[in-house]
């Protein structure tokens, strides 16, 4: 029950009707769940694509009958063509980065829990919030359209009618330029390769739509956090999840518009004959390209990575916030160094804007700027290290309860260290001579983004599921999910470092052409087996998620004995969160093991003689 002043005021009524309640809802809780469901759908598509990629790399030239049936052009005779493989690479990256890692952590859990954790009844602009989800959803549909436009002859023929640069039906499942879409490969149109017609146009349009949806969300998050905190909820009493969502929103606000600008320029190069990224004098696929002149391929890279680097922090910061929150809760101990954690989140966010050039050391840009970018890049390691030390400090002297969310939070720490630490290698210009565009890079970013970030999401899901649905997820299924996934992801991505050590380049459809790669076949197979097992086990999570919604053990208001505001209201919460009451906050968010307190946790809304724990 919510503490504080019982200002009973007239509560605004909940919506009625299925459409207003579940489809076009302006309730941040429904919207949050919608984002989570979108991510849960997108990740399946991305995961299937990655398994197909692994199969192609491990057993090249094999006839997979189902591929032959579904994609007769892209996988003739059931054998995946190189362009088909590259389109999988591109779409896997695009779907995972945008529609999984930039939706669930922020739009999903952030939307659901930011207002509640700060004591608000909803976001500042509920209608805009609804728009941000549906705009994002449309972006996803357009990306799916790219798959069908390139992969399916019927849809492809129809899309080709839109214009020259919309040539489709190549047989791939989308563009082949990678999620980074470097120009001029992405700017020249289908003469540069299959999938580079309609696939690229739809890819750009999808991402542009996503930028708009993201911007609408960022507006809401920032305004809500600045303006709608409840009584007593000072900035330094906010849970670290809120700090993470706030910083992430600022990053999104300032970086997505740059991607939108770049995307518009790229689209114009393709459909309007401009030359922003295309230099003159090109000779492509046997003929001169006379119409373009004066553009700069490097300009695309600068614009893309100026967005791209903050984007990876957008992907990980919410997970860091959730980990801090969950670690403290199940360690039954305050977070170690709250102020330092806030500082670190901010430092990572701000520094993240100044290091984009480390993706471009080999690009041909000024070697002097490379030096500057390199030194700045390694300094981002410092706030990341602070966070790691503080997580360990939180666990030291703790009384750890090994619930499933706690396991995933601990897993996050382990995986973040494993992935982040290789940044020290890749961030040095002299070492990047060897490692750029090898599997060493792929190992690094998958461990941080593809795994640590996802573990943050798993932890958040298991933690907040009882609040969202009023029932607990199965602990035994959850633990099984954790163990196989934790060991599985290490089994997949640690070997990637070995492949990088040998010099294995990225985005190769096959490795058989080079002698220097011949000793990697065993590694490649090992990774594929681990990947298939890990991917299949995720079914257990899906089953647990949907089954527990209806049949899980009923949860009370505060099954985890946590301290923040969401645990003062019923599970699931009423439409306006606090049932007309203005919650009042008296203390910080991690008051566990307070000496003299009757229980080992003190809720934020618990009044006391002196407001303890404000920082």
């Amino acid at each position: 029950m919510a503490d504080g002043v019982h200002e009973e005021v007239h509560r605004h009524p909940a919506p009625t009707g299925f459409i207003r309640k579940y489809i076009f809802s302006i309730d941040h809780k429904v919207i949050g769940i919608q984002y989570i469901l979108l991510a849960l759908t997108a990740v399946v598509v991305g995961l299937v694509m990655s398994v197909l990629m692994r199969m192609n790399l491990s057993w090249p030239g094999t006839n997979w009958p189902i591929m032959g049936t579904l994609f007769p052009t892209g996988a003739p005779g059931g054998v995946m063509s190189p362009e088909f493989y590259l389109s999988l690479v591109t779409m896997h990256g695009t779907i995972m980065v945008f529609f999984v890692l930039t939706t669930a952590p922020q739009g999903g859990f952030g939307n659901y829990f930011l207002p509640i954790q700060i004591g608000a009844d909803d976001m500042a602009f509920p209608f805009l919030n609804m728009m941000s989800f549906w705009v994002t959803f449309v972006g996803f549909v357009v990306l799916l359209l790219a798959i069908f436009a390139e992969g399916n002859v019927t849809v492809g023929t129809w899309v080709s009618k839109l214009g020259e640069s919309f040539a489709a039906g190549s047989g791939t499942v989308g563009p082949i330029g990678g999620w980074t879409g470097y120009a001029p490969l992405s700017a020249l149109g289908k003469i540069a390769g299959p999938g580079q017609g309609a696939g690229v146009n739809l890819w750009i349009i999808s991402i542009a739509i996503f930028c708009v949806g993201s911007l609408l969300g960022a507006l809401n998050f920032i305004t809500t956090l600045l303006n709608m905190r409840t009584r007593g909820m000072t900035l330094m009493r906010m849970p670290l999840t809120c700090w993470a969502w706030f910083t992430t929103a600022i990053l999104a606000l300032l970086s997505f518009p740059v991607l939108l600008g770049g995307g518009i320029l790229l689209l114009l190069d393709r459909v309007a004959g401009t030359s922003f990224f295309i230099p003159g004098g090109l000779y492509v696929s046997g003929s001169l390209v006379p119409l373009h002149n004066g553009g700069s391929p490097l300009l695309w890279q600068h614009l893309f990575w100026f967005f791209g680097h903050p984007e990876v922090y957008i992907a990980i910061l919410p997970g860091m916030g959730a980990t801090s929150h969950i670690l403290s809760t199940f360690a039954r101990k305050p977070i170690f160094g709250y102020r330092a954690m806030v500082f670190a989140i901010f430092a990572i966010g701000m520094l993240g804007f100044f290091v984009w050039g480390h993706h471009m050391f080999m690009s041909g840009m000024s070697p002097y700027s490379a030096v500057a970018f390199s030194i700045l890049t390694l300094s981002i390691g410092v706030p990341s290290a602070i966070k790691t030390f503080n997580w360990l400090g939180t666990l030291w002297g703790a009384k750890i309860r090994f619930t499933t969310p706690m396991l995933f939070a601990i897993g996050f720490v382990s995986l973040f260290v494993a992935g982040g630490i290789t940044g020290l290698v890749l961030g040095q210009t002299s070492l990047d001579f060897f490692f750029h565009d090898t599997y060493f890079v792929t190992a690094h970013f998958h461990l941080v983004m593809g795994v640590a970030s996802i573990f943050g999401m798993f932890a958040a899901t298991y933690f907040w599921f009882p609040k969202m649905f009023g029932r607990l997820m199965s602990e035994s299924l959850g633990k099984f999910h954790f163990w196989v996934t934790f060991i599985g992801v290490y089994a997949i991505f640690v070997p990637f470092h070995a492949m990088g050590m040998v010099g294995m380049p990225r985005r190769y459809a096959q490795f058989g052409e080079y002698e220097f790669l011949k000793n990697t076949h065993g590694l490649v197979l090992f990774v594929t087996v681990a990947a298939i097992i890990t991917a299949v086990v995720q079914l257990v999570f899906y089953f647990n998620f949907f089954w527990s919604m209806f049949k899980g053990k009923k949860a009370g208001d505060n099954p985890w004995e946590a301290t923040t505001l969401e645990w003062t209201i019923p599970s699931p919460p009423p439409h306006d969160n606090f049932a007309g009451i203005v919650p009042v906050v008296y203390r910080g968010p991690y008051e566990f093991a307070v000496p003299g307190a009757p229980q080992d946790y003190v809720m934020q809304t618990q009044p006391g003689e002196a407001a303890v724990g404000s920082h």
Partner: protein, 281 residues
Amino acid sequence: MGRVLGLVIWLITLGSVGMFVSKHWWFPESISEHGGAVDRQFTITILVVGIAFAAAQIGLGWVVWKYRDSSAATRATYSHGNNRLEVVWTVVTAVIFISLAVMGQRVWAALHLHAAPPGSYTVEVVAQQFSWNFHYHGKDNVFGRTDPKLIDDSALNYVGLDDTDPNAKDDAVVSTLVVPVNRPIELILKSKDVTHSFFVPQLRFKQDLVPGMAIPVHFTVNKTGKYELACAELCGMNHYKMKSYMLVLPEDEFNELVNLPQDKFQARRDELLNKYQLPQY
């Protein structure tokens, strides 16, 4: 649960560190002058990285082992942190990371912040989907004029060499990079269509080839032999087999080769490709 988790984390740490320590999958042998410095910097870095990794994971495994909630009687230690500790570990980390960063610029500066030394042998590299073209200036040490408008793949004029230019008479354009051992090489890197990247692992060197740019780079190779050249920037569907070789020849063999006219150059190149073997992997 805490014990098992701690154990699993330690085992994973052991396996990961072991994979590196065993050097079973490692850089191929360095053949360049700067390669030794790169490898040394990597060793220092991976040592720091390895120690930090192991320490953090062992620490994590230890705390989850030791502080598992075994008895309900006591509570955790009520502590909001320790500012002094924060300052100490922040400063230590910053010093180590920044030092690594500064050290990591040395080879980069040597190769990129200085022009090719006088007496370098220059080769023009023109990449395309999906092959490599190497333009040699021949005996007169002057590159013949090239013009994109003259490019005609079907007529085998891959780089658009202007036949009317007298300097072009002794030029050769072949698909293999041939360089002299122990002599600085300058490459002028260009591309006809999309961005590619020049990568020979043994060289410890990589550079993108960007259309619209002519990027000069230089290095010195100190071991003869035949080495694979791989494209390292996604350039289209056959990126995975955009392959060639770098032949590193002793001075006399090299001089003999590069002064040959086009057709004899190619024939001799074929002989040499057969003569030299790839390293043992």
